[in-house]
Structure formats: structure tokens, C-alpha cells
Symmetry: C2
Subunit: 384 residues, 2 copies
Amino acid sequence: MREVAILGIGQTPVDEHWDLSIKELAGQAALAAMDDARRERADSLFIGNMLSGMLSKQENLGTLVSDWIGLLGIEAMKVEAACASGAAALRLGIMAVGSGVIDSALVIGVEKMTENLPMETTAALATAADGDFESSQGLSFVALNALVMRRYLYEYGWQHTDFANFSINAHANAMNNPNARLHERITIEAYNKARMIAAPINLLDASPIGDGAAALYLVPAQTVKPNGRKVVRLVGSASATDTIAVHDRPDPIWLTAAELSAKKAYAQAGLRPKDIDFFEVHDAFSIMSALSLEACGFADRGQGPRLAIEGDILSTGRIPITTMGGLKARGHPVGATGIYQIVESTLQLRREAGKNQLDKASTGMAQNIGGSGATIITHILQAL
Amino acid sequence: MREVAILGIGQTPVDEHWDLSIKELAGQAALAAMDDARRERADSLFIGNMLSGMLSKQENLGTLVSDWIGLLGIEAMKVEAACASGAAALRLGIMAVGSGVIDSALVIGVEKMTENLPMETTAALATAADGDFESSQGLSFVALNALVMRRYLYEYGWQHTDFANFSINAHANAMNNPNARLHERITIEAYNKARMIAAPINLLDASPIGDGAAALYLVPAQTVKPNGRKVVRLVGSASATDTIAVHDRPDPIWLTAAELSAKKAYAQAGLRPKDIDFFEVHDAFSIMSALSLEACGFADRGQGPRLAIEGDILSTGRIPITTMGGLKARGHPVGATGIYQIVESTLQLRREAGKNQLDKASTGMAQNIGGSGATIITHILQAL
């Protein structure tokens, strides 16, 4: 496998885009990524998406989008791995370019979720869980995460308020991200008294859905000519799965698939957790930030909230997370989220992250999660 | 890229499987393929499927199935390319194993279509077309194909009855395939007077939907030890797209994407049409058999029906097609069809095709089509 680099990035704001169809939304991000890469063609197109069939009555999304943006004739397909669909599409792009099958790939993540009735969107999201044993019991994703968080509080003795800084940090970082869904600073008082959704998860533990698309233009790293811009290389890429149902796991408050995929990615990159300058976590719910930090080696088991309490996750801390707002405040257009994470990591590595630019940003990690920890994909990026 | 071989195959009958959930159906084929390969693990699982979200309210199918069959921890994802989803999943398996990223891949195609109301299934299938300009006009897939066939008859002066042998041959071949959906010989009289669906397409021009799953176990060809069984190698694999809407094509009765992907696959394999011993075409409608034969170089433009009339497509003919019944009589569980074609080709190449065994079967070709010629994937297989 030859090494793969990100030559271009593109994104739309995460918002309610009622005026754009799903192909138009994906097309905007894709054309922006090609423009950023200064390329007019791509050999293949891989598009991560979970819900287009159910919510937009549109499949064959790969060909639809490649036709729409004028890339007639190329290979195109859609990839689905629930909320990890974006990173799954990136895995394919890396395999295709890395193997030498093709020399350039457009990787897109897109989701359009706000035009439907909320109950339709919630039901569609529940299809990521086991239909026979979870969603058929009425368990939505917030309910599943509430059970996990409740167990976590019980086992390790934390209070709900100990998770406040995960959300406060995400909202603060989103203030400077023009593409974020929420631009609203929150306080610990607001967090503590927010409306309950599914105890113990309240409104400020949960990420908002949204419409959005993000895109990457991939090429073999060896072909990138220096042009004054840092070259962002994908030095680790790994995916692992767990039981689809949380209740089937020996330890329901440990993300085995996160640990597995992170260990593989670390090994590929020849790095350890202490070498990672920032970490784009999949904070669909605040509990997930704690679990990811633990599984990936940044905190001891049961000690994830300590990193929030002690400021380690801030941009000035030991392991900054959700540097552009995370799922919590940038928003979570599910199939697109994994690509937003990579676009934002690329901005940090290129030192184009504006007011949120980290001082030290040579190595970043992004983790995208599908289902309740069922499908977890980890990428490590470097610019040297 | 190292060469990839098919070490194991599995399939369920194409039928109404109301007693099996989609994960059980996929699991049966996958376990059969592992059993055939004499392997108990696989490094990755790629599953081709189009409709599980809409018709079974189930996504995250990759992880769901890998968990169900006991392959905990591995990489898994679903791939969608409309009715070409099966072959798209095979493309990924070939890239992943061929590139050396992994050493074994389970590739599954699955679809469950018969439990829903027919109008739901028809509407779900229509999501393969352009939602803004085709399905929103009420154009179902049979309607789209009817427009194409009508134009073809007009341009080249054929009669509807000239297509009869495509369907008669498929039904005859399915008689000896225990996994086929239809076991019913048909005559030219029956074909001519069959119930009209969308003129000029009648019931015996159209393939039946069905529930079914088929699976392949892929490994690097160089690792296969001779054990008395022929080694089936994938010597060509290519995908191409066209405009998603038929009305956007300069020539709506020519499959440009079939021509493109076949030419690429021929070039990879170093072969020409005359070297192909049999061809599993995507005969969703009889008109598609004619168009595929032309685009892939087996008939002159506008002369596809001649191969049916003159017996060239029979098992004793110049280019046998649909040797186990094709979509027309084996059945068309859409996301699974591309893998059924490869399973059946493997049976021919291994000389395990029973009463339908071709005398000469060293090189086979299979072509899987998504949408109305929008996404076309061609594979060439060889056993020497």
C-alpha cells in the first residue's frame, strides 16, 4: 500500500438546507474539495450516507452525485455503516488509492435529516440498532445511550454534572466555526438545568441532527508537489466492530471496537496516545466522549470525565477534543460526520483553523462511531 | 495488486423467505461460503444491499451480519449501488484483498423484498432513479425499461416476439437450478400472449423480485493450495457509470457504462469477447439482454435479438447466457443478484453446474446493472 494524502477539502454549513436536495448538498461539498485540490476530475467517488433511502427516497447516490457534478463514467458507490458511514467511505478511498487501483478519489459524506417529521428521523436512526432485539423494544438511540450513561454513573460514582465541560467546550469551539450548526455559548448552570430527554441524558448532552455534506480529495502522497501548503497524510486507518446490541457485551460501558481500531491505527502509524496532538471524538452524547477517551488510551478506565473537569480537553490542554465544535455543536448529519471530522482535522494540520488553531497540531486523530459502539473507525493524520 | 481467487461460494434459494429476517438470510449464505472455503474466520465483510432500510427498517447491516455469524471485531460495511450493489461489494472485496490490506474477505449480497406491500417495493426500487426528474414523474423501473424497449423496436425494426428466446432460454435453464425462483418451462405462445405490464413489456419480459442471499469467500490467488478443485480467479473487475436519467443520454438505447466497464475488464484480463465462454447478463427485462450483448461486443449495434433468434445464447451456442436461469427465472433479489451471478459462474468454471454444465467453461463474464444502465459493473472469471 502506498501512502495516501488529502489534497483537497470541502464542506457545507451544517444547517437546515430545505432549499437543497441531497445531490445538491453533496455536490457543493464535492466541488469545493475539487476546487481546493485544483483538480477537475476524480477516478472514483465513494459517498458515505445512512438515511437517503428512508428520508429522501433516493438511492443509487454514488451515480446520482457523480452525474450531477459532471464526473460521467467514473466508478461510484454509496457506503453505509450507520453513523460511521463517512469514515467507512474514507476507508474505501484509502484502499482504492493506496492499492494503486486508481490515482484519485473523491470521498463524500452527506446526510439530509431535517425535512422529515422528527418521529420519522428518530425511527430511521433506530435502524442502526438490532431490529429484532433493540429498536423493536422502542429503544431509540438516546434511550440506548441513556442506559449506558446511567450504568457508567453507577459503576464509577460520577455525577451527571461532571460531564458538563464536554458540552461547554464543544459549544465554545463552535463559536468560531462558521459551518457549525449551533453558535451559542453555554454555562454549567444551563447544562445542569437543561430539559431532560432520557434520564440522565439532557438536551445539552445530546448532539443536534442537521443537513450537511463534507468531502475529501485523495491522492497518493508521493505525487503531491510542495506548493507552500502542508501535506496532510493518512498514516493510520482502521475499522473494528462489536456486537450490534449493547446488551450482548460483557462490559457495556467499554468501547471494545474503539480500543481495537485505535490500537490498529496506532500500530500502523507507529505512534502512541501521547503522540496525538488533538482528537476529534464522536460526541453524539457526552458519555461517548468519556468512553472514547478511555478506550483510546487517553484516560484510565472509568476516568474519562476527569479530562473534562481538569481542562485536559481544552485547546490549551493535554488532549484537545472537538476543536471545531464536535458533533455536539458543529452538528451531527450522521453519514457526513466522519468526513467533517477529517476536514476539521485537516484544517488544524494545515494551520487554517482560524481562531481555533491549536498551537501544536502535527498529528491528529478522528474517530467515527456507528450504532451504540458497534462500528468504530479510527484515522490518524499527520502533517510534518 | 495481487490476483484474487474465489475460495468458497454459498447461496440460499431465491424465494419468499417470510420465516427469515434479513440477517438470517445473509447469514445462511455467508456460513455456506465459509463452509465451502473450509474457513472459520474472515478479515472483513462487505455486504451489498439496496433496500434494507426502506423495506426491513434495518441499516448497519455489515455489523449486524458479522455479529450474527460470530465474526466479532472484524471490519464490516454495507455497499449500495442500486441493483448493482452485489457487484459493488465484490469490487471492494477485490480491492481489499488485492491490495494486501487484508488476506480474506466475505462478500455477501442480500435482499428481502416480498414481505412488503407490492406498491412499497415498487416505490423503494424507484429510488434507484433520479428522484427529481424520473421517479417524481411516476416512472417506475418497468416503465423506464418499457420506454427504452419501445424506442429500440422503433429504431431497429424488431418485433416484440423477437425477444422471446431470451425468456424461454432463461426459464429452461432454471429448471435444473434448485435455487431458482421459477421452475416453469415457457413457450413462445405463452410469451406472446402474456399479460401486459407496461407496453411493450409483458410479464414474461420481466424478472421476478424475491428474497435471497449469495456469498463469496475471497483470498489471494497465490495462497490457494491445489486440492483437486479448480481455482477460480477474478481476472477482470471494472465499474463505470452513466447519467442517472435515461433521458439525459445522447443515445438512450446504448449502454455506454456497459461498454466502458467491459472494455476495462477485457483489457485487465487481456481477453476479447471471442475468448468469453459464457456471459451472465443482467436480464432484469429482456431488452437489457440485447443491450448488454451489444455493448459488450457480442452483437452489432441493434442486432442483439439476432443472438436469441439464432440460438447463439443457448448452452450449445456461441455465447451462452443466463446459464442457471438469469434474473428472469432464477429471480432478482436486487442487492444479491450480482453475487448470484458470480456464484453461478463459479459453479460453471468448477464444472459443478449439474445438468446445466457447459462443455466449454474456462472463462466466464458477469455483468451487474444498477438503475437504468446508470451503474454497470463487469467481472471476468477464469479457471485454467
